[in-house]
């Protein structure tokens, strides 16, 4: 177990930001902390990294208590903060050298690690450029590079893809997977459930400072009753299709809106083939077909009664 959090409590005056949170993160996992803004994700991360003092509970990282072994634990942590934290008056290379030295890297090893981080984040060509001339995505990548030079055992990324283009987002997500393959455990916080669903091996959903569910993505989706939905764009309208489809096992509802057919089934009903056959039997051409599986958004909606981005 690389991270053990027991009954963590953190208050800001009268506001209970983190309320009795318990987390266990295994070595080698990509652990997703999912929740809306204000759910307590960043506060939890701040306490884990020693930026804030906990008001209650116990935190152990690599088996060491955070209160008594803060310096050793910090040496093993790599943190990518939510906001970009680089000096704009220093080049990308100088920024990396500056922060690498804070982790006691020096000499040839320092140079090697800086070059490696630049290569990893695809910034080698831009190393002598000041970050103020970087795009948002490049700044985010530099932000990540600053956190990985000392080869940390545990990397914490706090919403690293906020406000960037899809290309940079994909690059960052790929980088996270690669870091994990290289042996680092990753804690990834986000309110983008698709990202968490894509890269995380374990997920905890937070709301109002509490962990309301945790498990793998599939476990969470199975945990709640969420319907499956199939939407088909038809070449022509034939209302006998609706009657035929309603007879299929697991179908809860079927309707036609213009040329769009919408079929709602119980979860795990595995009836997509039967639905397609029912349409084909009426000689109606299918222009497009979309099968929606349960999502983490749906899980969150079921658990809290509101959408994740509300």
């Amino acid at each position: 177990m690389i991270v053990e959090v027991k009954n963590l409590v953190k208050r800001y005056k009268d506001v209970l930001a983190v309320d009795n949170v318990n987390l266990n993160i295994q070595e080698g996992e990509i652990f997703g902390l999912l929740g809306p803004n204000g759910a307590g994700k960043t506060t939890t991360i701040n306490v884990l990294t020693g930026l804030s003092k906990a008001d209650g509970g116990e935190i152990k990282i690599s088996g060491r208590n955070l209160n008594t072994h803060e310096m050793e634990i910090k040496q093993d942590l790599g943190i990518v903060p939510q906001d970009i934290a680089v000096f704009e008056d220093l080049t990308a290379y100088e920024n990396l050298c500056y922060f690498a030295r804070l982790y006691r890297l020096k000499g040839p090893l320092l140079k090697e690690r800086v070059e490696e981080a630049l290569e990893f984040t695809g910034l080698t060509e831009k190393k002598d450029i000041y970050p103020k001339k970087f795009s948002g995505g490049m700044k985010r990548r530099l932000n990540i590079a600053c956190a990985i030079m000392h080869h940390p055992k545990l990397i914490i990324l706090d919403e690293p893809t906020v406000g960037i283009d899809p290309q940079s987002r994909n690059h960052i997500l790929e980088s996270i997977k690669k870091l994990n393959q290289l042996g680092s455990t990753v804690i990834y916080t986000s309110h983008y459930m698709e990202e968490v669903d894509e890269i995380c091996t374990k997920i905890a959903i937070m709301d109002h400072g509490r962990v309301i569910a945790k498990g793998t993505g599939d476990e969470l989706k199975a945990f709640v009753a969420v319907d499956e939905k199939v939407t088909a764009e038809l070449a022509s309208v034939n209302y006998t299709i609706v009657d035929n489809i309603k007879k299929i096992r697991g179908v809860k509802d079927c309707s036609i809106n213009g040329k769009q057919l919408v079929v709602v089934s119980e979860k795990h009903s595995k009836n997509l083939g039967s639905i397609i056959n029912a349409i084909s039997d009426t000689d109606t051409e299918i222009l497009s077909l979309n099968a929606e599986k349960p999502t983490l958004e749906g899980v969150f909606l079921t658990l809290t009664g509101r959408k994740l981005r509300d």
Partner: protein, 372 residues
């Protein structure tokens, strides 16, 4: 390692910012050029003290007219402060009560007496046996080719061989009194270097605003490493700026730095330290750039105006000067450069050192808070 690393990169960031270089080196040199040169001639005249001579001319003859003309000549007016009195007693009392250095009396019938006997009888009254005005009278009498008669209030008349002309010229000793240029060189440097406090404020506030402070708080370095490293980086920047300004003012304008250079540099080192500490403390407390700028401006104006260069060391200013680093540096420089009084200069440097240490302790205390 951590502290030196932070100091180095803080220094690197500072010197790359042209705004700091403009504020800390170019601005003081430009103002030294303007204020220094414009005041250097004014100061030269106001610093000379003229002897006061009281004169009463009772006689109405040609000799008295000639003497009156001599007193009104430019050379004599430049050398003496001539006060024409309305009676013998008024003139005599001027000397008696210390309001004048000398009283010159030309009695009734003096011209007539001179023309008949060749004896002028001009009387010079003074408590000084060889008053400066005596030379004036003797020169005048010699020019009339006569023998004088001089009476002293407390001594016997003094008769001496004297030159034919009197022309006392005030001479300002080089390097013994601050010229306008020197004074404004020191003041302008103090004014602008104090704005170096903004280096400290901006460093602290930008660290919070741009999240870079977070990198230090999550790194395995001591709680005081960041604040000490930033302090040293800013101190190095400001001290180098002061050294460059000293050299440039000397080479470009000829400002006087001919004192004990170690004491001068030490005073600027501690002064820079005080500025940076104050800036960092304001930054940690307020977290607002505009507020820091206004506070630093006000403190600077108060301290500059309280210095002995601009105000007498009395009343309110006397109390301000107890804590004013500006005044201690000014005294340290003027004592070593113009009086050669290195011991007095050292006392001022010691006061600066104590103030610098106290403020650094406060800076460290203010900067050790966690920031999340």
């Amino acid at each position: 390692m951590g502290i030196l690393n932070i100091s180095y990169y803080t220094f690197l960031k500072n010197i790359r910012d042209w705004k700091y270089v403009a504020l800390l080196i170019i601005a003081p040199l430009v103002t030294i050029m303007i204020t220094g040169y414009s005041t250097s001639n004014i100061d030269k005249h106001t610093l000379t003290t003229k002897k006061v001579i009281a004169v009463y001319i009772e006689d109405k003859g040609d000799i008295s007219d000639k003497f009156n003309t001599l007193l009104k000549s430019p050379d004599v007016k430049n050398a003496f402060d001539i006060r024409f009195e309305s009676s013998y007693n008024d003139g005599y009392n001027m000397v008696l009560y210390g309001k004048a250095d000398t009283f010159i009396y030309l009695g009734k019938g003096l011209s007539k007496s001179f023309n008949s006997s060749g004896n002028s009888g001009i009387k010079v009254y003074s408590d000084n046996s060889v008053p400066a005005a005596k030379l004036l009278v003797e020169g005048f009498e010699n020019s009339l080719n006569t023998i004088n008669a001089i009476s002293g209030i407390k001594s016997k008349p003094v008769i001496a061989d004297v030159p034919n002309a009197v022309n006392e010229v005030s001479v300002q000793p080089i390097g013994k009194t601050p010229s306008g240029l020197d004074r404004w060189t020191y003041l302008n440097m103090l004014i602008f270097l104090f704005y170096g406090a903004l280096l400290g404020s901006f460093g602290v506030i930008n660290g919070v605003r741009k999240n870079t402070l977070l990198r230090f708080n999550i790194a395995p370095i001591g709680r005081y490493s960041n604040v000490t490293g930033q302090f040293l980086g800013n101190l190095l920047t400001l001290f180098l700026c002061s050294a460059v300004t000293i050299i440039a003012s000397r080479l470009l304008f000829g400002s006087n730095w001919n004192g004990n250079i170690v004491l001068i540099l030490l005073s600027f080192l501690f002064y820079s330290s005080i500025s940076i500490s104050l800036g960092m403390i304001f930054g940690y407390i307020s977290r607002k750039i505009s507020l820091c700028t206004v506070v630093i401006l006000c403190v600077n104006v108060l301290f500059v105006n309280a210095t002995n260069a601009l105000s007498p060391d009395v009343g309110f200013f006397k109390y301000v000067n107890i804590v004013s680093p500006h005044n201690y540096v000014y005294k340290a420089i003027t004592n070593t450069v113009f009086s050669g009084a290195d011991s007095k200069s050292l006392a001022s440097v010691a006061a600066l050192a104590i103030e610098a240490i106290l403020l650094f302790v406060l800076t460290a205390a203010a900067g050790r808070r966690r920031t999340a």
